[in-house]
C-alpha cells in the first residue's frame, strides 16, 4: 500500500516538474515564483561573536543580552518588513584562536551584518575571517585602529579610546586643573591603544606625563606600579584597565594612600559592586553615556525592561548592542546587499538610541561622545560632564 502511494506521488511530482519545465509560456524551468515566495518567511540573519566564557566574559554577556533583547522585541513587533530577525551567536571564548574559530564558523551562516568582538585583541585576530565585502562588521572593541584593520566594511559601535581618552585628559587638565599626569594601562591592544592616545593628548595640551605604567592583564599585584606613580609626583592619574583589574588597583591604591584624583575607563555595574565603597569613593570614570542616571523616558523604560528580562542592571555595553540591532534593523528595510548595508551605516546620521546619538564619522565610528562620571560613597556614578563631539 505504502509503495503504491509513494509511487503515485513520485509520478505526480515528475509530471508537475516536466510541465513546469516545458511550459509554453516560459520555455524553461520556472522556479522564480517559488524563489520569490521563500524569502518572505526567511529570517534576516545577524551574526554576533563575543566573549561570554573568557576572562572578561561580563562584557560579552552584556552585549549579547542587549542584542538578544532588541531582536526579541523587534520580532514581537512583526520583524523587519515581515522578516523575523535571527541572531546567530558564537562565543569567542578567552583567546584569539577561539575568536578566529568562532568568527569563521559564523560566516557559514551568511549573516547580513556581524557585530560584537568587545575585546580589541580578539577583534584584531578575528577581523580577517569576517571582513572582505561579505558583510559589514560592527565591533564593540575600542581600539581606534580596528576600523582601519577591518577596511571599509568595519565600523566601531561604542565610543572608542579616540573619544574617551582625550575627554579624560581634557577633564583632568582643564576642569580639575592638574598638570602632572600618571598613566596606568594594561599591556594588551586595549591598553596599548589607550596609552598612546592618553600620552599624545597630554602632550598636545601642554602638560607632562610623569609616569607611564603597564599591568599584565593577568596581574595579581599592582603595588610596584602604584608606588612608582606615587613617587613620580603626579597630581592626577588616569587608568585604562580590563574589568578584572579594577578592584585590585582601587583596593591597593587606597591602601597605599595614593590620594590624587583618579580617572578610570568604564566599568560594568557588577564590577563596581565588588569594589569597596571607600576604595572607589571620588573616582572619576569615563563612559559613552550614564545610562542608569539618564532620566529620558525611553532610556528609563529600557533600563526597566533590561532588568526584568535578565535580572541584572542595564549598562552601556548592553545599551550599545541594543541600539546597534535597531540601527541594523532600520538598514535592512532598504539595504539588500552588503554594499548597500555598508553605505547605509557609513551615512548614518543622528540615530537616537538608548546610549545616545549615533552618527558615522569618516573613520566609521558610529558613537563619538563621552560622559565624565564620579563615584560617590554609595558607589553610584554621578554625571559631572557630558561631551558630544
Amino acid at each position: 500500500m505504502f509503495h503504491r502511494a509513494a509511487g503515485r506521488a513520485f509520478v505526480a511530482l515528475l509530471i508537475a516538474v516536466c510541465a513546469a519545465a516545458f511550459n509554453p509560456l516560459g520555455g524553461t524551468f520556472r522556479s522564480a515564483p517559488l524563489a520569490q515566495a521563500a524569502p518572505q518567511s526567511q529570517p534576516y540573519i545577524i551574526g554576533m561573536v563575543d566573549t561570554v566564557t573568557g576572562p572578561v566574559a561580563a562584557l560579552g554577556t552584556s552585549t549579547r543580552n542587549g542584542a538578544t533583547m532588541a531582536v526579541e522585541e523587534i520580532n514581537k513587533a512583526g520583524g523587519v518588513d515581515g522578516h523575523q530577525l535571527k541572531l546567530v551567536f558564537e562565543d569567542s571564548g578567552g583567546t584569539n584562536e577561539t575568536a578566529i574559530t568562532a568568527a569563521t564558523r559564523l560566516m557559514d551562516e551568511k549573516p547580513r551584518v556581524i557585530l560584537g568582538l568587545s575585546l580589541s585583541t580578539q577583534a584584531f585576530a578575528a577581523m580577517p575571517a569576517i571582513t572582505g565585502k561579505r558583510a559589514p562588521v560592527i565591533v564593540f572593541g575600542t581600539n581606534p585602529k580596528l576600523t582601519e584593520s577591518g577596511g571599509e566594511y568595519a565600523f566601531s559601535a561604542l565610543p572608542n579610546v579616540s573619544a574617551l581618552c582625550p575627554a579624560a585628559v581634557s577633564y583632568a587638565l582643564q576642569d580639575l586643573h592638574k598638570s602632572k599626569v600618571a598613566i596606568l594601562t594594561t599591556d594588551d591592544e586595549f591598553g596599548v591603544a589607550a596609552n598612546q592616545m592618553l600620552v599624545d593628548t597630554v602632550k598636545k595640551l601642554g602638560a607632562a606625563v610623569v609616569s607611564t605604567q603597564t599591568l599584565s592583564t593577568k596581574a595579581v599585584d599592582a603595588t610596584p606600579q602604584l608606588l612608582k606613580i606615587k613617587a613620580s609626583g603626579a597630581d592626577v592619574a588616569i587608568s585604562w584597565l580590563l574589568e578584572n583589574l579594577d578592584p585590585l588597583v582601587f583596593q591597593q591604591r587606597h591602601q597605599l594612600g595614593l590620594v590624587i584624583p583618579w580617572l578610570s575607563s568604564a566599568m560594568l555595574p557588577k564590577t563596581v559592586q565588588q569594589i569597596a565603597s571607600a576604595d572607589i569613593d571620588g573616582v572619576y570614570a569615563m563612559y559613552g553615556t550614564n545610562i542608569l542616571a539618564d532620566n529620558t523616558p525611553a532610556v528609563r523604560d529600557f533600563v526597566t525592561r533590561f532588568k526584568a528580562r535578565f535580572g541584572v542592571p542595564a549598562d552601556e555595553y548592553g545599551g550599545g548592542a541594543f541600539d546597534i540591532i535597531h540601527i541594523i534593523a532600520l538598514g535592512l528595510k532598504s539595504a539588500t546587499t552588503p554594499q548597500q548595508m555598508r553605505d547605509y551605516l557609513a551615512g548614518l546620521k543622528n540615530f537616537q538610541g538608548v546610549d545616545g546619538i549615533y552618527t558615522a564619522t569618516a573613520n566609521r565610528n558610529l558613537a563619538q561622545r563621552a560622559v565624565v562620571t564620579r563615584y560617590d560613597k554609595d558607589r553610584n556614578k554621578v554625571t559631572v560632564k557630558t561631551i558630544q563631539f
Binding site: V56, G94, S216, Q274
Partner: protein, 290 residues
C-alpha cells in the same frame, strides 16, 4: 622605603604561590604528571568561599576550613574521574585529560558564579597596619600566618604520620611502594585531594587580596610552577622558598626594572635555572646509572 613596601606586599603573595606550588609539586612527585587544573582548584575554592561568606554568612575563618574539606572531595573526585581512567594510557592522554578538566572546571565556575569579579572582606575587615610609611593590610599578615601553619602541619603530616610516609614512599618509587603493600592507588587519590585542598585554601585567602575572577588562577599557577622549578622539583622546602622568591622578585622587577617585562624576566630566570641547575636552587642532584 619603597623596597620595604614592595617586600611587605609581595610576601603574602609569595605565600600563596608557595601553597599552589607545594600542591603542584606533591602531584608531580607522586603521579608524575603536571596538574594543569591546580589553578582551577584555587579559583573554585575562591568561588566556594564567596558563596559561603556572602550567601551562607559563614565567617571567613570557618570558610577556610570548610573550603579545604570541600576541595579535598573535589580533588578526590578529580582523581577518580580524570587521573585513574587515564593513568595507564600514554602520558599525552593524561596531559590532555587534565587540560580538559581544567577547562570544564572554569566553565562550571562561569555557569555557577558568572563572569564578574568577586571580592570578600579579609580577616579583620579592611584594617591596615601602618609601620612608618609601610602599609600592610591585616589580612596579608593573616595570610602569612595561616600559610605558615598549613605548611608546618603539612611537614608534620609528611614526616610523622603513617599516611604521610606512605605518600613520600609512593613519590619516591611507586612500584617499590606497591610491593611493600602500600595502597598506591589510594595514596594517589589522597595526594590529589590534599593538593586540591591546599589550592582551595590558597584560593580563599586570595579573594580579599586580589578579588576573584575566572582569570585569577592562571597567573598564580604560572608563578606556582616557576616556584617549583626555581626551588627544586622534588624538594618541598625549595618550592616554598621558591614561591616567596618569585613573589618578591616579581614585585622588585616591576618596580626597579620594568612592569612590562616582569613575566619575561621571571621565566628567563626559570630557563637559566633549568640550564644551570636543573634540580633547582635547593634540590639535590641525582645521578642516573646506566
Amino acid at each position: 622605603m619603597d623596597s620595604l613596601q614592595l617586600f611587605a606586599t609581595a610576601a603574602p603573595l609569595g605565600c600563596l604561590f608557595a601553597l599552589i606550588g607545594v600542591g603542584f609539586q606533591l602531584v608531580y612527585a607522586t603521579l608524575g604528571a603536571l596538574n594543569f587544573a591546580q589553578c582551577d582548584f584555587a579559583m573554585l575554592g575562591g568561588f566556594l568561599a564567596v558563596t559561603a561568606v556572602q550567601v551562607l554568612q559563614v565567617p571567613l575563618g570557618v570558610t577556610v576550613l570548610l573550603t579545604g574539606a570541600a576541595m579535598a572531595i573535589v580533588g578526590g573526585l578529580f582523581s577518580l574521574g580524570v587521573y585513574r581512567p587515564l593513568r595507564h594510557r600514554p602520558h599525552d592522554s593524561l596531559i590532555v585529560g587534565m587540560i580538559a578538566a581544567s577547562i570544564i572546571i572554569e566553565n562550571v565556575a562561569l555557569f555557577a558564579w558568572g563572569p564578574s569579579p568577586y571580592r570578600l572582606a579579609g580577616f579583620f575587615g579592611g584594617y591596615v597596619l601602618r609601620l612608618g610609611q609601610v602599609v600592610l593590610p591585616a589580612h596579608a599578615v593573616a595570610v602569612i600566618c595561616v600559610t605558615g601553619l598549613i605548611i608546618a602541619a603539612l611537614f608534620f603530616f609528611l614526616e610523622h604520620t603513617l599516611l604521610g610516609k606512605m605518600l613520600r614512599a609512593t613519590a619516591q618509587d611507586a612500584e617499590t611502594a606497591r610491593t611493600l603493600g602500600i595502597p598506591v592507588d589510594r595514596v594517589m587519590v589522597g595526594t590529589l585531594a590534599l593538593s586540591a585542598a591546599l589550592a582551595g585554601i590558597a584560593g580563599v585567602l586570595m579573594v580579599p587580596m586580589l578579588s576573584l575572577s575566572l582569570r585569577v588562577g592562571t597567573d598564580v599557577l604560572i608563578k606556582g610552577f616557576a616556584a617549583a622549578v626555581i626551588g627544586g622539583v622534588g624538594n618541598l622546602r625549595g618550592v616554598i622558598l621558591g614561591g616567596l622568591f618569585v613573589g618578591i622578585l616579581d614585585a622588585f622587577i616591576a618596580f626597579y626594572v620594568s612592569s612590562e617585562y616582569v613575566n619575561a624576566i621571571v621565566f628567563l630566570l626559570v630557563i637559566l635555572v633549568l640550564f644551570l641547575r636543573p634540580q633547582g636552587l635547593l634540590g639535590a642532584a641525582v645521578q642516573e646509572r646506566v
